[in-house]
Symmetry: C2
Subunit: 230 residues, 2 copies
């Protein structure tokens, strides 16, 4: 029996993902990526057709996403992509700040030399994108760096909560209207983040990240205001 397997050590079971799980993932992406506009109603019918599934697994997915805060379920009136209000952002960022500070504190003591080297490389690449004014690649690397810190913290509870909030905020698309002043400040803060991480200064990194998040909060708020104005 076992003779069939080449290396009995690393056998991964064939994955059969339930419809429900796939739907949660794909719907979450649609919402976070902004393909479903905040405030828009989401008729079950349409989604069923789009994904070619029946209402049962779809509705299960909607309930889960609602419990994550990405959707609001209006009784008898279906799902709505939840709006990101200024108040939401003002509540979410302090929490993100506390979580990311903790991530930094843990990462500073735990991060491997390999991972640190990767952060360093991504950082300098990111700085380059900043110099060239390439916003999209900059943000990709920025996100990746924060993700690496989160991974280095090696705490899945922390990671899950953080990612949940980050996903909810990401929809704001603050990237588009970040002033060059704020951008410069963000890069300066990232220099500090790298330095503290290399010094393995946990409390210092925590403080820097908290400040970094506070500034990011202002950026997002500006973007949200600009959006509601026009």
């Amino acid at each position: 029996m076992a003779s069939v397997e080449q290396r009995s050590d690393q056998v991964e079971p064939i994955k059969r993902v339930s419809l429900h799980d796939q739907l949660v993932g794909r719907l979450r992406d649609l919402i976070v990526q902004g393909d479903l506009a905040p405030g828009s109603r989401v008729p079950e019918r349409e989604l069923c057709e789009r994904f070619n599934v029946s209402r049962t697994p779809l509705r299960e997915a909607l309930k889960v996403l609602a419990s994550e805060g990405l959707l609001e379920l209006l009784p008898n009136r279906g799902a709505m992509v939840s709006r990101l209000t200024l108040e939401d952002v003002e509540e979410m960022f302090p929490v993100m700040g506390a979580l990311e500070a903790l991530a930094g504190e843990l990462a500073a003591t735990r991060i491997s030399e390999d991972a640190l080297a990767e952060v360093r490389a991504l950082h300098y690449q990111m700085v380059l994108h900043h110099k060239r004014g390439e916003l999209a690649p900059y943000f990709r690397l920025n996100q990746r760096i924060h993700e690496l810190i989160l991974e280095a913290a090696d705490n899945v509870v922390l990671a899950n909560l953080y990612r949940g909030l980050a996903g909810r905020i990401r929809r704001a698309r603050y990237q588009a209207n970040m002033s060059s002043e704020r951008w410069g400040q963000a890069v300066a803060e990232h220099e500090e983040i790298l330095a503290k991480l290399e010094a393995r200064d946990g409390p210092g990194l925590a403080a820097t990240l908290k400040r970094h998040l506070k500034n990011k909060c202002e950026t997002v708020k500006d973007a949200l205001l600009a959006e509601s104005d026009n």
Copy 2:
């Protein structure tokens, strides 16, 4: 039309809670209260009969509770009340600490005199229960105090995340085997919490709460070890 209502100001719509929502609440209580033992399988059939509903709303509730981490869904094999491992606790407490520290920081600047007075009253009542060795009432008030701080922080995002984690940990029932030494330490920390809150010392309260949570973590870990031993 409106003449029927006594005070048109405070009209609350008649609540029609969906089966789904009720089920999520009641099941969560069953799990958190420990009526469903960690590790035990939960056949849908039995729960359907217990609550007298069909499988559809029940399964929706199970998915939500699974996404909260209270249940684990084994593909094609139903739901299991998730076990609380030592590793889980060691991951959850730093996060709880960070969240409660933030709550304290916010509460210190925002708490009303009324709420502060209530905390003070509960605190001294709690100290009395400690003196008398009345564990259960002590814990009730303890929990209520932390809840008041959380409310005073006035941040629903923070409150939701905190309550989610607190619910998951509460199942550990560390109350039963708290040593009198730890209990004394906890009370001392609570004295400090009250003092910092009255001084409206945000950073100080944050630090105290973080330390308080760290100690609580040790208590929970001890309880978990004692449980797995016998």
